[in-house]
Symmetry: C2
Subunit: 247 residues, 2 copies
């Protein structure tokens, strides 16, 4: 008797967002401060209710735009300006995850370039980019815990990003439209928390067909010899993958 839509327990469905970016060599996540109970004053992931006529991905994209001004990168029309990658992460539905009622949250993962994002509707006191180390605690150092089960959700999102840049070109979602090989390498280093050999990295990414396409321009914004500028190529899968140095 799998379906009987007339009798079912009452559920609220929300989307929560793990929005990641790389700022000053550190992987950062978007956090909002809760203004009301429960967990009043604690940091939480941005999110909100799914509307009655709205798809899950649509709801996530709407929340992302409301919080950051970013819109979702459509592979069809490539990267106009503030474009972010958005994908579903996982769903969290423990009966006691919200003390008020039964809330099932469909978490999404967004990867964004480091823009001084005009956060529409959010004031500086209640929204911030925080290093994930600060939000999750690191090496046994406790952090001010996130509201609800958001620490778990954030950890899952970070783990997904870490593993996905191994075998896909997703790391370019952290970069502006045009970027250098060195900038892309610093993204990998920040997300993985390791140092990579610049020479081998350069060979690897430029030698993978479809990963990077040169724009012809150069820049010297990092100092040193001018570097070629690249745009993300059409390829989404990296084969063979980028190898993460062992932990």
């Amino acid at each position: 008797m799998p379906y009987d839509p007339s009798a079912f327990p009452p559920f609220a469905v929300t989307v929560d967002l793990v929005v990641l970016t790389v700022r000053r060599h550190a992987l950062c996540a978007l956090a909002v401060r809760r203004g009301e109970p429960p967990f009043q004053g604690r940091w939480a992931l941005p999110g909100g209710f799914v509307r009655g006529d709205e798809d899950l991905a649509t709801a996530a994209a709407r929340e992302l735009a409301e919080e950051t001004g970013l819109h979702v990168n459509d592979p069809a029309c490539p990267a106009p300006a503030n474009a972010a990658h958005l994908e579903q992460l996982a769903t969290y539905g423990d009966p006691r995850r919200d003390p008020r009622m039964r809330v099932v949250s469909v978490a999404h993962l967004a990867l964004a370039p480091d823009l001084p994002a005009p956060r529409a509707g959010g004031d500086a006191h209640s929204v911030r980019w925080a290093p994930v180390e600060d939000l999750l605690g690191q090496d046994g150092v406790e952090a001010a815990p996130l509201a609800f089960d958001h620490a778990r959700i954030l950890a899952d999102g970070v783990e997904r990003a870490r593993s996905k840049i191994e075998y896909s070109s997703l790391a370019t979602a952290f970069c502006p439209q045009e970027f250098t090989v060195g900038e892309l390498r610093r993204v990998y280093e920040a997300v993985w928390g390791v140092a990579l050999d610049p020479r081998n990295f350069h060979r690897k990414v430029t030698g993978t067909p479809g990963f990077l396409v040169p724009t012809g321009g150069t820049t010297t914004r990092q100092g040193g010899r001018p570097a070629q500028l690249f745009r993300a190529g059409g390829a989404t899968l990296l084969n063979p993958p980028m190898l993460r140095p062992e932990a």
Copy 2:
């Protein structure tokens, strides 16, 4: 204003199951025939409502046990008898995916050995193991379409299984407690739909520490020279991964 639990649209939350096994060299999925509208008479994935006090994983395990008699393999106490692997797959929430009302379905993926499973509560007419090719259609050949968006869910589950056996030891979830290298190889061949070199496969899996542990026994059930029997080792990640021959 992310949370206001007093006012939210009414949602039903269900779990749907992609239960995969390997039978007669073919990747098969569990399908149930719908006895009532909508999609009456069509095949669908097993599933049902999440109860008010139940976690999502608990609901999925309950549905799995009800449909197949399988219980979930706990890594702590290894594989007693009818053990299956179970993990969350993705969540599907298009507002029009169920014509009756708003239903959000948290799909789960289960991998089971080929047991003549005693399907408690299901009669033979309404439950079957069907080759995924038959359920999804193949090479342009149309199949009787599955109910709701279950074709999409099944395709996502199959794709997850195909990619996950590359870099994890999950393929052993398709095997009985004790199995030979040849049987494990035939699992890979069925899931990927390719032929693998038996010699190189043998070297690869026996040379990966923690993947397989010999039980000491041998069997001749496949004919030919007796083969060693193995049990799944503790290792869950395969490094370097098993390489899938290019499509």
